[in-house]
């Protein structure tokens, strides 16, 4: 329904701009649709590859980071995805993750190295489940279409208002083609108003769609893992971190698990955010009271928001609350947690070094170090004992 509203904004804008400049609303409409269709095609076939290259993501295999790979595979099974998505790591201290790909068959999950360091297995599972549900619900495609729609509106409005300003508001060709100066002026004003307001409206609608899909992905995350606390505590860790994603791109913000620009928190019920406030998402997940189904999530949502709105599509709300029960956590005690953190950090840096084709070298004094690929065939002095080490040339 919201997507329809977004499309309507585009159609209205196209119609009135066409009416004002080209003398035919229909013609403007067609131009708007053609631009939209072309941009869609580009986004459809290039979107995934584009964002992955923009954010400098590295593709991994089952042996590069077994825990991440296994968790993705576990969630692939739990969500019933037909094909194992590709898995990528970004070398970035920020804690975030996102999904890309136009369909469940062409999909990828990407996590930052910061996330891999900070999350224990249960939390990682929650995050990956959230992302896979974006893939399963085809949110990636939906949000790509919407952001293209939004982009088209912005472009049309920008050119429209430029032309209006430079033609001195005389109404362009319309006034010379006759047909009552009064009517032409009215259309001119409507077109101008639309050119200014359409992008704003479109953005608000776009953000609303994005927030709704986030709630749905959270609910699916709880359902797939049967453990809402995992996702809740992962979101808490994300909220506590203060680093934004270096290579984030505005257009893809809805695909991240949390807003990559770290604007939220300042105003909790922000209309201009792609994501609902994290604290609220955590509160909803923690209010699910032992259940893990969509019904439980919907109930918790209504309880936290204090209203009767259904956040989950009503077709998915069959059955009673509490039918699907949660399970026990997998990860051990809190004491183990700090030790694990060190281990996880080591693991991630080893993975990244391997992906960057670093060579492992052990000096005779027992110091182990990793050498960047451009040092091949050179001699490196050990920082501890001062011995010269020859780097193999392969």
């Amino acid at each position: 329904m919201l997507v329809g509203a977004l499309a309507l904004v585009l159609l209205l804008l196209g119609y009135f701009l066409g009416e004002a400049f080209l003398g035919s609303g229909l013609f403007g409409l067609i131009i708007a649709l053609v631009i939209w269709a072309v941009m869609n095609l580009i986004a459809y076939f290039q979107g995934g590859a584009l964002i992955l290259s923009l954010s400098r993501a590295r593709k991994i295999g089952p042996n590069d980071h077994p825990r991440l790979w296994n968790v993705v595979e576990e969630m692939k099974i739990a969500s019933g995805l037909e094909k194992m998505p590709e898995v990528y790591i970004i070398d970035d201290p920020a804690i975030n993750a996102f999904a890309t790909g136009r369909s469940p068959k062409h999909a990828a999950v990407t996590v930052t190295s910061g996330l891999l360091q900070k999350m224990n297995r249960d939390e990682l599972q929650g995050v990956v489940a959230h992302e896979l549900s974006h893939i399963q619900n085809r949110d990636v495609l939906l949000m790509t279409l919407c952001s293209v729609l939004l982009g088209t509106i912005v472009i049309l409005a920008w050119y429209g208002s430029r032309v209006m300003l430079f033609s001195g508001g005389s109404g362009g060709r319309r006034s010379s083609s006759g047909g009552g100066g009064n009517g032409a002026a009215v259309i001119m004003i409507i077109a101008l108003l639309l050119a200014i307001l359409a992008p704003i409206f479109a953005q608000l609608i776009y953000f609303a769609i994005s927030r709704k899909r986030e709630y749905l992905a959270d609910a699916s995350g709880a359902l797939y893992t049967r453990y809402p606390e995992g996702l809740a505590s992962a979101l808490e860790k994300i909220a506590d971190s203060t680093v934004g994603v270096k290579s984030a791109n505005q257009a893809f913000a809805p695909m991240y698990i949390a807003n990559p620009f770290r604007k939220e928190g300042r105003s909790a019920s922000d209309l201009t955010s792609t994501h609902p406030p994290i604290r609220e998402r955590v509160r909803i997940l923690r209010s699910m009271a032992g259940g893990a189904s969509f019904v439980d999530y919907n109930k918790a949502f209504q309880q936290v928001r204090n209203n009767k709105q259904n956040i989950i599509p009503s077709s998915a709300l069959a059955g009673a609350a509490g039918l699907v029960t949660t399970r026990q956590p997998e990860t051990g005690s809190q004491v183990a947690e700090s030790q694990q953190k060190v281990e996880r950090a080591r693991e991630v840096s080893a993975t990244l070094d391997r992906l960057n084709k670093y060579t492992a070298l052990a000096c005779q004094c027992g110091t182990a170090f990793r050498i960047p690929p451009d040092y091949k065939g050179k001699v490196v002095r050990c920082p501890r004992c001062g011995r010269d080490n020859q780097i193999p040339n392969k």
Partner: protein, 191 residues
């Protein structure tokens, strides 16, 4: 003449809608039934993977904790029982797999006492694989049950139950965990 044509068109449209509904419902039922079958085979895949991993694990542990013979033998025995139970019906298989889970959790508990073993990369990798396989087994079961629920809802609820009855779609069976030991996922702590 005109009225006849209108009646004809209306009847035609109704029949067409009915036929389309029949086809989509039938296809939906087939799709769901295949999904449950596929989910079932996923469980088998993961169980087999676990059986394959265990000899490797036992070899690795032997190198560091050879005198934990009893525990190691119990694992091997449980594994052989589980392999033997493949294809002997859900009940027996579930029981054997439950025994294997129990033996494995004992082995991992024993491994806690051997720092050298715990630092062994091979062992760590195997531990990760086995933990994950254990998870995958329970997630495939979970998805199987979710699929059965979806399929059963469709075969039993009106109006799709009419189509299900016409073409003999029978309700699926849930995977129930039968032995208490099977319910317990072995606690593997990564100290």
């Amino acid at each position: 003449m005109v009225i006849g044509a209108i009646i004809g068109i209306v009847v035609g449209v109704i029949v067409l809608v009915l036929v389309i509904w029949l086809f989509t419902t039938y296809n939906g039922l087939v799709g769901l039934r295949n999904q449950t079958k596929n989910a079932w085979s996923q469980i088998d895949v993961q169980l087999k993977r676990r059986h394959d991993l265990i000899p490797n694990l036992v070899e690795t542990v032997k190198g560091y904790a050879a005198h934990e013979r009893q525990t190691l033998e119990a694992v091997i025995q449980a594994r052989n029982t589980a392999v033997g139970a493949v294809g002997k019906g859900v009940g027996e298989q579930a029981k054997a797999e439950g025994g294997l889970s129990g033996a494995l959790s004992k082995l991992f508990a024993v491994a806690e006492q051997y720092p050298n073993l715990k630092a062994n990369e091979n062992f760590l990798a195997l531990q990760e694989e086995l933990t994950s396989t254990e998870n995958k087994i329970s997630f495939s079961r979970q998805f199987y049950n979710d699929s059965v629920l979806q399929y059963n809802n469709k075969t039993q609820m009106a109006p799709s139950n009419i189509v299900a009855g016409m073409f003999g779609f029978k309700s699926g069976e849930f995977f129930q965990v039968e032995t208490p030991a099977e319910k317990e996922v072995p606690k593997v702590s990564f100290k």
